[in-house]
Each structure stands twice: as structure tokens, then as C-alpha cells.
Symmetry: C2
Subunit: 212 residues, 2 copies
């Protein structure tokens, strides 16, 4: 049995943040497929595992954790990689983790979901989400123009969190040429030993064809 | 000069999270009014203070911090109140801080903003945001049904974060009778020595009348 079990599915950028961390750390991990599109996260059984009804969930020995930011922090401490090295760095990492959860991932993931997996999304909602998403991307673009990674010269869990949804530009429908600093940064993360794209790391892709 | 300076404005629940923490800790603090509705957070000068273009910002001696979750964590450590007491508690606190930023505050704050300060918000966007907001409230309601505060029997910064937007039920237009556990929990926080409502703690309320 693997040391770490990650409850996940291929289309989840939040789960990918953790899958990528585990792979970059060469950890002994295995995925446990969650049938999100089949409704599993809305079942009482799943809510008993995670009241928030989300992936990822990480199991490690007697510990079961939810929220990608919590899991990344736990793994950085346990595996000694991609961690902040001081109290000030820890605050900077937390700052970008929170920005990611509040804005970057929140808007990007919702927009991508509506664009790809909802029949006839409301144009007004799409427009609203797109505008918010682009506001968050602009903040990240400005930040990465003056430094290589989120908190300086080396990658941390803040980078692994923020990149979670950004390797799907086609699904998001965004023109990466508008974001040269983000593109350069994603390439730098992609060059790390152990990097793999979400649809390779996690089960459940492609989805079965929809019923007419 | 006060020990802590909080950049804030009265209508910001994110700033209120920190103002409330400072007041509950009986800290020596002063507000620095940010003219959000006048466009201050969109100026280059403000972006130089906070690239994310948000309040709160906290100044304490030589340290300037942004993101309410980072500031709450910093104050809990420095002031020794509302802090987690173990690594497991710290993970639980972070889990609810992230949930708050990703869902509870994100949807509630956006919905309240559209409802109160945007002329003619799109009905489709309002409906979408209301549904997401109520999903987040339902998760918090379920969680607080079985425990007094977010991580157990005593209040922590997770509670101070999550309550930030919830003392404005009329502005949100939500029926609190639907949320008895949240109502009880808000009353428990309100009973803490030093509690005060947002419009009392921070400057900028009421807004000047709109120009025709």
C-alpha cells in the first residue's frame, strides 16, 4: 500500500496541486478516484469524509486532510521540499495561497467549469467571471514580472498552488500571449524533475461521452 | 502613534476580521481610512502598497502585511490569543481560513457588493452568486451544529475570519432563521469582551449620497 493516498479526479486543479507536489517530491502515492461528475462529492458518505464536499483529500497513516493549502503545507513540512525557510517567507507563502484560493483559482476554476461542463451557461455569469478571472491573472502577471517564483528565486508550495488550473489554457480559453510572465513561470515549473500534466497524473480523463 | 495601523474602510468585512481581532485583543491600534469607493485601491500608489489591490493592510513597526488570513495568523502569534495550540489545530484553523477565503467570504462579499453598491446588477449573476453563497453557508451551518466554534470549544482566528461578513444579514438579504447554528455562533462571538460591529470599528460609514 502506498504511503499517501490522494482522493482526486483528473479535471480538478485543486487535486492537481497536491498530485504535482507528491510527484515533484518523488513520494510514494496512489490516487483514489472520486467520481465528481457522477455526483460522489454530493453524497452523505462523501460529506462524512469532507464536510466541504471537495477534493482533494489526502490520507497519510492516521491523518486525513482536506483543503489543498493545508495539504501542501503538511507535505512541505513532512517532505522538506518547497517549504518556506523563515517566518517572513511563511507569511509570503500563506499570502499567495490565500490569494490563489480567494481569487485566482476561485474565478478560474469556476469559469473553466461553466465553459466546459455546463450546458448553456448564462452569458452574464460568464462575462462576470471572465472579468474577475482576468483581474486575478493581471495581479499574478504583475507580481511575476519582477521575480522568478511567487516568493523569490526558488519554487514553493505557493507556486504549486497557483499553477493548479493554469496548464489548461485551451479549456479556459485564454490567450497566453497576454501573460508573458505567467507563461515563463509555468515553463519554469514544468521544467522541474517529476512534473507531469494533470490528465497524466490523475484518473478520470477523458470523461465518458454525454448521453444525448 | 498607535502600535498597529490598519488600512481599512467600514464596509470591508475582510478588514473587519482584523479590526475585530485587534479590538478583542485590546491592542493599541488605529485605522487608516482607505477610500475604496473613491477608487483609491485602483491607484498605482495603492498597488505599490498592495499589488493585490485590497484591504486590509496592517502596519506594525517595520512589518507591512496584507491578506486578512496572514494578518490574523501574525497577530495570533504575536498577541497570544485566538491561536491554535498544536500542529493539528493549526491545520484545522488553516482549513477553515481557506474555506472562508475560497467560498464563504468570496461568494458572500461579492453577492453583498452587487446587491448594495452596483446599479442594476445582472439577475443571472445575482442568482448564481446567491446559490454559491448559500452552499457555503450550508457547509458552515452543518459544521457548527456539532461544535461551538470552528475548531472546537474555544474561538480562534478561524472564527474571526469566517464571521467577517456575517453581521450584515440585512445587507446580504439572508434569512438568519434558516441558519440556527450560525446565529448561535455569531451570538457567542458577539459576547466576547471587546466585540463591536464593523460600522463602529472602522471609518467610512455611511457612504456619501450618490450623485444623481
Amino acid at each position: 500500500m502506498a504511503e499517501y493516498t490522494l482522493w482526486c479526479f483528473a479535471q480538478s486543479g485543486n487535486a492537481y496541486k497536491v498530485a504535482l507536489m507528491l510527484n515533484l517530491c518523488d513520494a510514494d502515492w496512489t490516487p483514489r478516484f472520486v467520481d465528481y461528475f457522477g455526483g460522489e462529492t454530493r453524497t452523505p458518505a462523501y460529506r462524512a469524509v469532507n464536510v466541504m464536499g471537495e477534493v482533494p483529500v489526502l490520507e497519510h497513516r492516521d491523518t486525513r486532510l482536506t483543503q489543498s493549502g493545508v495539504i501542501l503545507d503538511y507535505l512541505a513540512t513532512g517532505l522538506g521540499k518547497f517549504a518556506p525557510h523563515s517566518a517572513a517567507e511563511r507569511r509570503e507563502v500563506l499570502r499567495w495561497l490565500l490569494f490563489d484560493n480567494h481569487k485566482l483559482t476561485s474565478y478560474t476554476a469556476t469559469y473553466r467549469f461553466l465553459r466546459n461542463w455546463v450546458d448553456g451557461p448564462e452569458p452574464a455569469v460568464m462575462s462576470f467571471m471572465e472579468q474577475r478571472m482576468k483581474g486575478a491573472w493581471a495581479i499574478l502577471e504583475a507580481h511575476l514580472t519582477t521575480r522568478r517564483f511567487a516568493i523569490g528565486d526558488r519554487p514553493t508550495i505557493a507556486d504549486l498552488s497557483m499553477c493548479g488550473y493554469l496548464y489548461w489554457p485551451q479549456e479556459i480559453g485564454i490567450d497566453m500571449a497576454t501573460y508573458p510572465a505567467i507563461t515563463r513561470w509555468l515553463d519554469d515549473i514544468r521544467a522541474l524533475p517529476g512534473w507531469a500534466p494533470p490528465y497524466t497524473l490523475m484518473p478520470g480523463h477523458p470523461l465518458p461521452a454525454r448521453k444525448g
